[in-house]
């Protein structure tokens, strides 16, 4: 399997361990990634609230760069998925609008074509379940995550709005994290916040609301017995992990729950060591996860 790969900004910034672990995991799974190093930020919905046409053109450029490789595109960020799908929906709806946007790109020798050879842009989670396949993933597991109690945390941008995000064709996309966790041998923890908002988009605008959201979800997962959370979104990771000590103050309770990036969780099951996967870079300690895994292996 070979894919055009858009890592996003945050996975190469504050959550560099995500980009690093994705590279290791892709290689071991036998997925060849062609990185789109000339592509630009998706705008995270923020550029669109300033100028929708600008956001659509920027993302059309990224899609065009991916299409130039002749490969389907993969991202590792729920927010990229949501922001890019939003622009793609507008571009795909109207050929005159698409032609208008492509005119701007034509000077760069680029053009976004709708539905060419069934071209898609999918989050790693969707690729893993729909294209790679859970059976094949199960065969690659070297260290089953037996006994590890894992709470899924999706990130809004891969679960809503359903119509835009391909749920008509793939209605179970909001259950894939559970399916992956079980495939890796882990135990799914049911808790209230799995498909709720981490609060990140308002961290600079309404800090207290934002941290209350993050703190509530982490607390609910702890109460439900989770050893860790797993998320396909680095922005959720920033609020759930990096801001966790601040969130604890707002919800007025002790937290301390490891939050893993999806490729890290897969990586652990594929036999990589936590250090290789950059788990030491997290703010919420991952030691408990390592202890649980060690005790199972022993």
């Amino acid at each position: 399997m070979k894919l055009a790969y858009w890592p996003g900004c945050v996975s190469r910034g504050f959550t560099a361990e995500l980009h690093g672990s994705m590279a290791l995991v892709a290689e071991r799974l036998g997925i060849e990634l062609v990185e789109l190093d000339r592509a630009n930020c998706c705008g995270a919905g923020v550029i669109a609230e300033h100028n929708q046409e600008l956001a659509d053109t920027l993302n059309a450029r990224t899609f065009a760069l991916a299409q130039q490789t002749g490969l389907a595109m993969m991202n590792i960020c729920s927010t990229c998925q949501g922001a890019q799908s939003e622009c793609q929906q507008r571009l795909d709806a109207d050929s005159a609008y698409r032609a208008h946007i492509n005119e701007v790109l034509s000077g760069q020798g680029l053009s976004y074509e709708k539905g060419v050879d069934g071209w898609t842009n999918k989050n790693f989670l969707w690729v893993l379940v729909e294209d790679y396949g859970l059976d094949k993933l199960a065969e690659k597991v070297q260290r089953p995550l037996s006994g590890l109690r894992i709470g899924p945390f999706y990130g809004c941008y891969v679960v809503r709005p359903k119509h835009r995000l391909g749920y008509d064709e793939h209605p179970d996309r909001d259950l894939y994290l559970e399916q992956v966790i079980e495939t890796l041998g882990g135990q799914v923890v049911e808790y209230d916040g799995a498909r709720k908002c981490c609060g990140f988009p308002v961290i600079t605008m309404n800090r207290e609301t934002s941290l209350r959201q993050a703190g509530t979800h982490v607390g609910d997962a702890l109460d439900a017995g989770a050893d860790c959370l797993v998320t396909p979104c680095p922005l959720c990771h920033l609020n759930l992990d990096m801001q966790q000590p601040e969130a604890a103050k707002v919800v007025n309770r002790d937290l301390g729950l490891a939050v893993l990036h999806l490729p890290q969780l897969v990586g652990l099951a594929l036999g990589f060591e936590p250090k290789q996967l950059g788990m030491g870079k997290h703010i919420a300690s991952t030691e408990w996860v390592e202890e649980r895994l060690a005790s199972v292996a022993a």
């Binding site: 900004c9 050929s95 609008y97 032609a99 809503r160 049911e190 609301t209 990096m242």
Partner: protein
Amino acid sequence: MATYTLKVRRYQPESGEGPYWEEFDVELDPSLSVLDGLLQAKDRDDGSLSVRCSCRAAICGSCGMKVNGSSTLACKTQIGEAHEQANRRPDVPAEGGQIGHSTSGTSNPIVVEPMGNMPVIKDLITDMESTHWEKIRRVTPWLLPHGDPPEREYVVEPESMIDITQSMACIQCGACVSSCLSMEADPEFIGPAALAKAYRFVGDPRDAETTERLHDLAHDPHGIYDCTHCFSCIDACPKGVAPMDQIMRLRRRAEENGIDSDPNNGHNHMVAFTKIIEKKGTLDESLLLQESYAPGVKGKLKPTKGAIKGLLGSIPTALRGLKTGKMRSLPKLIPGVHPKLPGGAQDEVKTIYAHAQEHREEFNLYIKGEDGDEETAVAEGLEPDPQKETA
């Protein structure tokens, strides 16, 4: 005809007891609605089961409630589909159903609850006054024209009203308010229904207080910059109003109307983000933090009180990041050191920005439709003819 189990969250204030769950078995065709199921249970099993409803055709907006955790109209939700939804993971009950499986044994019940973010009056009936109607009144939901009224009706170009038709489609059911994740964390948030209603008047060509309305909504700390962008209201709305899209329109209109400061630093954040991508192509997170709170720190430093508080509040997080190594590299530490895109790619991004200075088209899917216009496109030569290609 099939048998379904409805697991209803019940509450009778006069009993002095707290809320509890009760299951009802109902028999009806899968194409009938969850509301039909509830009315059958009320008719056959318990006349005290309370539900607000009227038209049964998704027009009156009375029967808003949560079905399997999702805010919706009970009359617009087919019971067969709700049953399937509750049984997507046979071993795990639907949201809200954590207290045991159906009494009928083999499958999960359909879980029915009153709307969220609102006080419950009785069973499935909520009090919409404090969390919905009060907020609707908060946005001055009537026209504020200037000058003497015309002798007859106001005359406007039909095209100038198209933009607000989507927000006009609201039937005040409260499903978006029920689903709102910002309001769940901040009950003071004006909320999706009221803000969508606000856009209905901001976008109306007959209204003369557009700037005042936008200033008011931007300067309320629980206004347009308190939306956390979670898309819940878009999925919940039974009429396609997409309240969050209207909130984003309000943010664009606020900027266009020169409202460039607000207590939430919402405008600064948006401008800082957009400018960084023009300069660097990808996000320089340190610079975003600095510029969101204190724009133009190198030139004129004019941070608001809220900005100083926000910036100080982010310091402990940054220090922890340094400790674990998360922020130890220079681009993550020093705002502005972040690299540009390689080999001329940054200039390509800048070209797009230059074009965007003159172009701000808002492509509206609600008006244009999502199915595309391929036939017209082929006729106008914008797209190749697929039939010709295959032939």
